[in-house]
């Protein structure tokens, strides 16, 4: 569904409506971060932030390894990314573990003590004990904007509504089960359809939605995924090239941080991959 034509009915504004170039650039940058959650290609442009690189690498590799539907998202608070997530339905065997859930989990379990330097260790069991205070309270979500490559589904739209969110920017529309304009309008009055002539009052849990940001790139990601589903390759990158890429990034990180970062193994051929193979990877990324 083209957001342009549906704005009036669904309350989903289109990308680039009367916005300054600077503002647009900010949103597009964050949307790129969301896309980076599910692709290796952005690694070619080495990001300035080495931490984001680590994350992207791990998550991107994960997405490749497990045949996850490539959906990625970032939560932004006052211009800073405080949480990231990718779709994890295959990895967890749980069809409800969408990117938004993963990102909110990350935000709400970030320990208060973590400084930005040792974020890589934050996921270890020792780093996050029950006694440790959390950095963010759930109330922070109400001040966050979400950038997600695909329109949130009905489930996630309701999750966002119940936790609270300020604004959602999405890439591609989701006509199959989208919850912010695609099928239902959960962001407005929990999706209640107004009676004829009725104007829905703004509810305190309502949130703004803007669609179509980097839409083509998000669609391309999905298309590549479905091509892969049909037995063809994910990217035109061969396993050898992929390994070289990983090595380069690994070396970059060693030089930059001296940190002991483990690199996930290169994905094997699709037919050899099973969900079980993911287990060692998870441990590797958490230790």
């Amino acid at each position: 569904m083209d957001p342009q034509t549906t704005e009036g009915k669904t309350g989903v504004s289109r990308a680039r409506e009367d916005m300054s170039a600077e503002e647009r650039a900010v949103h597009i940058n964050f949307m790129r971060e969301a896309i980076a959650m599910v692709t290796l290609l952005p690694l070619l442009n080495v990001p300035q932030n080495i931490l984001s690189l680590t994350h992207t690498l791990q998550q991107g590799e994960l997405a490749l390894q497990t045949d996850e539907t490539p959906v990625g998202c970032v939560f932004v608070h006052e211009g800073v990314i405080i949480g990231r997530g990718t779709n994890a339905t295959n990895r967890t065997l749980n069809g409800t573990r969408h990117a938004e859930f993963e990102a909110i989990n990350e935000i709400l379990t970030t320990p208060a003590s973590t400084s930005s330097e040792d974020l890589t260790n934050a996921e270890s069991p020792e780093g996050v004990s029950d006694r440790c205070e959390m950095k963010y309270t759930p109330a922070i979500l109400k001040e966050c904007d979400l950038y997600v490559t695909v329109e949130p589904c009905i489930m996630c739209a309701s999750l966002l509504r119940q936790f609270g969110i300020r604004k959602v920017y999405f890439g591609a529309s989701n006509e199959k089960f989208g919850g912010t304009g695609g099928v239902l309008n959960i962001h407005r009055a929990n999706g209640r359809v107004p009676k004829e002539g009725e104007v829905l009052e703004r509810h305190k849990d309502d949130y703004e939605v803007s669609g179509g940001w980097l839409r083509e790139e998000a669609i391309l990601l999905l298309r590549r995924f479905y091509v892969q589903e049909n037995g063809k390759g994910w990217y035109s990158v061969s396993p050898f090239e992929s390994r070289c890429l990983c090595l380069i990034v690994y070396l970059c990180m060693l030089v930059e941080t001296g940190a002991d970062v483990q690199i996930a193994p290169v994905p094997k051929k699709r037919k050899d991959r099973t969900v079980k193979e993911v287990e060692p990877l998870e441990e590797a990324t958490q230790s």
Binding site: N94, T96, V128, A139, I154, K176, F177
Partner: protein
């Protein structure tokens, strides 16, 4: 824990039958959004009169004209006797006769009323063309008829008296076929109370311990007439949660049950059957994927497909919120049964405030059967209307 629980479930009458002594217990299938929203939609059609003896000729001419494009009017009788139609149809046709200068006297036993077609799919001239070979003057009037098929015999009777003779064909254009629903209902009729009771109890225990609201869920696998409990969970929105608001949204009972089915399978795949052991070492998260109270339970499924909950049954003490309803769809459950309706926040029903009717919507890529289980006074706790179950 697992074995202990199995024993409990096998004989529910001894331990927990008290909840369900009420004889008013019943399962009623939910209506789909289409059934509740569009069943009164009407269409304006042309009606004319024809001699009884030329009925088959005209039927042939009607078929050749192919005027019913896109419309399915199978639920409406093509021909009707004068005595079978409502008063207002008779007066419309009399008015049409008068305008042609025909007298009011008709031998009603020699004439039939004919429903020609929707006024948007056939023109006045076409109607005239189809009928004119048999009679010289064609009285034509337009009346309103129900656009879509009735979903019950009672509805057909009511429509016949109000619009035009209508037939109930035991089909449901708005949802699952009635025979599918009744067969499925027979399957679950025997023990659905047992499972609902487990769900309700888990919810009550959750609240008693301060873990969450009194909302509980049970997941059941049914194979060749045998049902097996896979997971029981209580709401955990206030577990490890110091904050206000709506609590930990990821701790809703439905999400937890789905996760328990997944973690049980993961655990058994890893050869680690005792899932409680891993719970202590797992990193902190907002997901409470493991049982935390004695009423809770997670067990691995025998047969697994790509979608772990494919075809399973889920029993909810309360109608799930929009998020949980959609989670049930994402997990490809086969049947959902809830006890207390949540009129303001529920996502399954098509008759509440939201009227989403998520269990059966053509736009979505999964549909399942849904029932509301009423059991008189002895049922799940009444929650605040604003709560998302």
């Amino acid at each position: 824990m697992g074995t202990n629980f199995d024993r409990k479930c096998s004989d529910p009458s001894k331990e927990g039958g008290a909840l369900f002594k009420s004889p008013t217990f019943s399962l009623s299938p939910l209506k789909t959004t289409l059934a509740t929203q569009k069943h009164e939609a009407t269409l304006t059609v042309y009606v004319s009169t024809i001699p009884v003896k030329s009925a088959s000729t005209i039927l042939g001419r009607l078929r050749n004209a192919e005027i019913d494009n896109g419309l399915n009017l199978q639920h409406l009788r093509r021909f009707a006797k004068y005595t079978d139609v409502p008063e207002h149809v008779l007066s419309s046709i009399q008015a049409a006769r008068r305008s042609l200068g025909l007298g009011p006297d008709v031998d009603t036993s020699q004439e039939l009323l004919l429903l020609v077609g929707g006024i948007n799919s056939v023109s006045h001239e076409e109607v005239h063309y189809i009928i004119s070979p048999t009679v010289t003057q064609v009285p034509i009037c337009s009346i309103m008829v129900p656009l879509l098929a009735p979903t019950s015999y009672e509805q057909a009777v009511s429509w016949s008296s109000r619009f035009w003779p209508t037939v109930y064909k035991k089909s449901n254009p708005f949802g699952p076929h009635p025979s599918i629903i009744s067969r499925a209902q027979e399957d679950i009729d025997g023990d659905s109370r047992t499972w609902m009771e487990l769900a309700i109890r888990a919810g009550q225990e959750s609240r008693r311990l301060g873990h969450g609201e009194a909302i509980g869920v049970a997941v059941v696998e049914r194979c060749d007439g045998q049902s097996r409990l896979l997971a029981v969970s209580g709401d955990a929105r206030w577990l490890d949660w110091k904050h206000g608001g709506s609590g930990n949204v990821a701790g809703h009972a439905v999400l937890r049950s789905i996760a328990m089915v997944a973690t049980s399978i993961k655990a058994s795949e890893n050869g680690n059957i005792d899932s409680t052991e891993t719970a202590c070492t797992a990193p902190r998260s907002i997901f409470h994927d493991k049982p935390v109270i004695s009423a809770e339970h997670g067990q691995s499924r025998a047969s697994t497909s790509r979608y772990l909950c494919h075809g399973l049954e889920i029993y909810c003490s309360h109608e799930p919120c929009v998020m949980c309803s959609m989670a049930i769809l994402h997990s490809r459950f086969g049947k959902v049964i809830f006890n207390k309706r949540m009129p303001e926040t529920g996502g399954l029903s098509s008759e509440g405030d939201l009227a989403h009717g998520l269990f059966w919507r053509k736009e979505l890529n999964w549909t399942l059967l849904a029932w509301e289980m009423s059991n008189g006074d002895a049922s799940g706790e009444t929650l605040g209307l604003e709560i998302n179950a």
